[in-house]
Assembly symmetry: C2
Homo-oligomer: 402 residues x 2
């Protein structure tokens, strides 16, 4: 008996060592020198959070476990997830009812607040990492918008060589974040700048300017209350979203594009202008581009369905939608060089089905488009990084082909 | 009696209305649409934090009140400060022992984590606000440092006109954050870009490039443990700080300056190069510039004493310090165009006295310098905004005068 018990203890502790100590390493999304969160070779994430006097601490991964953390003797609470999908996972910690960010994590703007996230590396994938290739710059700019009556902040990626090839002009991709995020999302979370650097270095994508604006716009004088406290899905909320959508449309077309074209060496005209966005930014992209096909000829919706806000989430009527822009598929294919839609296979069913229904509607009507599924990823940034990596090489090729 | 009691209640409630409801407005440092923290015309700050199940919630202003918040019936905890000094005040909230950021605030990197802050406006001061003047850009750049063996992130302010005046070259100010902060501090917290925009528009400062690097550097292969867990003020900690300081010095002089000079249209040479920093960044500035007077001729220390890390915090021996660079004051004044030191009058006594002692040492030795006190401000960003606004107009004037 004693021997058996001893053997169990030894075997048990070895098993624990293999499984728990394993090869955990601090996540690259941590603040300097923070040892937690950490990730092991099986993509499991261990969170550790100090709350010595709390009665209950929960971890809340937005697309992952929502679970009670376990109090340790040292006042820290810990939790280890099952293996996670690769990519950047937003999370918060709930301390006795207070939902807060984990101070060990870098801050990422999501859910309308500065939240935490943990980066789970994708084995073998280097396309979104900084590499020894020429790097573009990400520039903060402020433009005054007569639409909103405010100074607005945007980020602009300029490709390598922009400063030295002073006679060259570049096409422009307008790239939008999702709901609850802001203009920092595509570089901080999405690493769009590194994706573009790597695509341009390997000559898979043309050098381009990428403009990342804030998708929340409110007409001058419009009160905050108009956009707050509306029940989700209610007619009032739909109206508020529409107001924001049209204010954003006007801000992009009347303030942002003129500002970019007069402050950067852009190639102008619809053949040199693309727009894409994720989730809410995808909806905004469809809204802005289809209403301004005089300005845009490349369109991308990343996990963002054109009809998500249509009553009943019905199939898209391609004959009548967007004032009949797609009614004649042959004419549409000539006019719109690229219509790209994509979704992750692990996204919530409602979101996935919305995009799949859109894809089916376009197929049935023979509207030329590209449809892409990201295997094993959720309504999160790894889906959108992959989307951008597939989308960007298809841009601004039409003119060259002519 | 009853009438008197009634009058007191009425008067009391009117008084409360005037004092409590008053003219509180959401702070400009809040995330979009957050109604708290809010600030009134007397610079009082009201914090509101949701923690329905917490037993104790404290607010922790780093240079202000540290106090218990009061639980309200709706699960929110509130606290109103006495009148605060103008400027950006870092704070955290402590929920049952967990020190966290307030999700209603924008995130600012300070104290080695993403913390909260509230902006208390300075009446009548517009020098650090965005105005209707030409705006420069703040550019994110990544440079590979052989010193640290890593990709390093820096922010670079380019003045208005940089992109259009393609034959012009510009002098460079290297501008460093404080301890526990990072390269984002000078623009996010300090609004250095707006300060420069406004100074340049009014022709008070010359158009210049401003480089903001991360002050934490660690030589390639140096382990994390070397810089952690050392008792404050101990010889081990001093050694770790020295290692970091010299690694940073090498990173600046061997990696950063060459990168900037080859990627931006800089005016090179010591007459066109300045360095300044706040607190820890001030110490780093003295260390880097005095060891490289071949590279720099303008030097600024904002709340950062040259001798803070000297044993016993003694007065500076100007004859021997920095290899005798100041030993001959006349020669020094000819060589160094500007030595600028400043401090806020409300800074903790130890910090204030350190700078005042440095000033006295320089005075006694007749070492030419500028000394500035910021009235009523603490070891916080309003001091450093004012410092930059006084410092920048003095830069790069020497050559023109010749």
């Amino acid at each position: 008996m004693r021997l058996t018990a001893f053997a169990i203890v030894v075997l048990g502790s070895r098993f624990c060592l293999a499984q728990d100590a394993g090869d955990f390493k601090p996540a690259t999304s941590n603040v300097l020198d923070a040892q937690y969160p950490r990730v092991d070779g099986n993509s499991r994430v261990e969170i550790r959070f100090k709350a010595p006097d709390a009665a209950k601490v929960r971890v809340n991964f937005w697309s992952g476990p929502k679970a009670d953390m376990v109090k340790q003797a040292d006042g820290f609470w810990t939790f280890t997830t099952p293996p996670m999908a690769p990519g950047l996972h937003y999370y918060t910690v709930i301390v006795d009812g207070a939902e807060v960010a984990d101070p060990a994590s870098s801050a990422y703007f999501g859910g309308s607040k500065w939240a935490s996230a943990v980066e789970v590396p994708e084995t073998g994938a280097t396309y979104y990492l900084p590499q020894d290739v020429p790097h573009g710059q990400v520039r903060e700019v402020w433009y005054h918008s007569k639409v909103t009556g405010t100074w607005r902040h945007a980020l602009v990626y300029t490709p390598p060589g922009y400063d030295t090839q002073v006679r060259d002009r570049f096409p422009v991709l307008y790239l939008q974040h999702g709901g609850g995020e802001d203009e920092s999302g595509w570089t901080r979370q999405g690493r769009a700048n590194f994706i573009l650097d790597n695509l341009i270095a390997s000559k898979r994508a043309k050098p381009m300017i990428v403009v990342m604006a804030n998708g929340y716009a409110r007409r001058a004088g419009q009160s905050v209350a108009d956009l707050r406290g509306k029940p989700f899905g209610s007619p009032e909320m739909r109206k508020a979203m529409q107001d924001m959508m049209t204010a954003f449309e006007e801000d992009v077309t009347q303030a942002l594009i003129p500002f970019i074209d007069s402050n950067f060496r852009t190639l102008t005209g619809r053949d040199n202008r693309a727009m894409a966005g994720l989730s809410m930014g995808g909806m905004q992209t469809f809204h802005v581009t289809f209403n301004h096909l005089d300005l845009f000829s490349y369109i991308g919706g990343f996990s963002g369905a054109a009809n998500a806000f249509a009553p009943g989430n019905a199939a898209l009527d391609t004959k009548t939608a967007f004032n009949g822009a797609m009614a004649d598929p042959a004419a549409f294919a000539k006019r719109v060089h690229l219509l790209w839609i994509g979704v992750g296979t692990k996204e919530p069913e409602g979101m996935r089905q919305g995009i799949q229904r859109l894809h089916a509607s376009l197929e049935a009507a023979k509207v030329q488009h590209v449809y892409s599924e990201s295997p094993g990823t959720d309504h999160e940034w790894q889906t959108w990084r992959r989307n951008l990596e597939d989308f960007a090489p298809r841009l601004f090729q039409a003119v060259a082909k002519k």
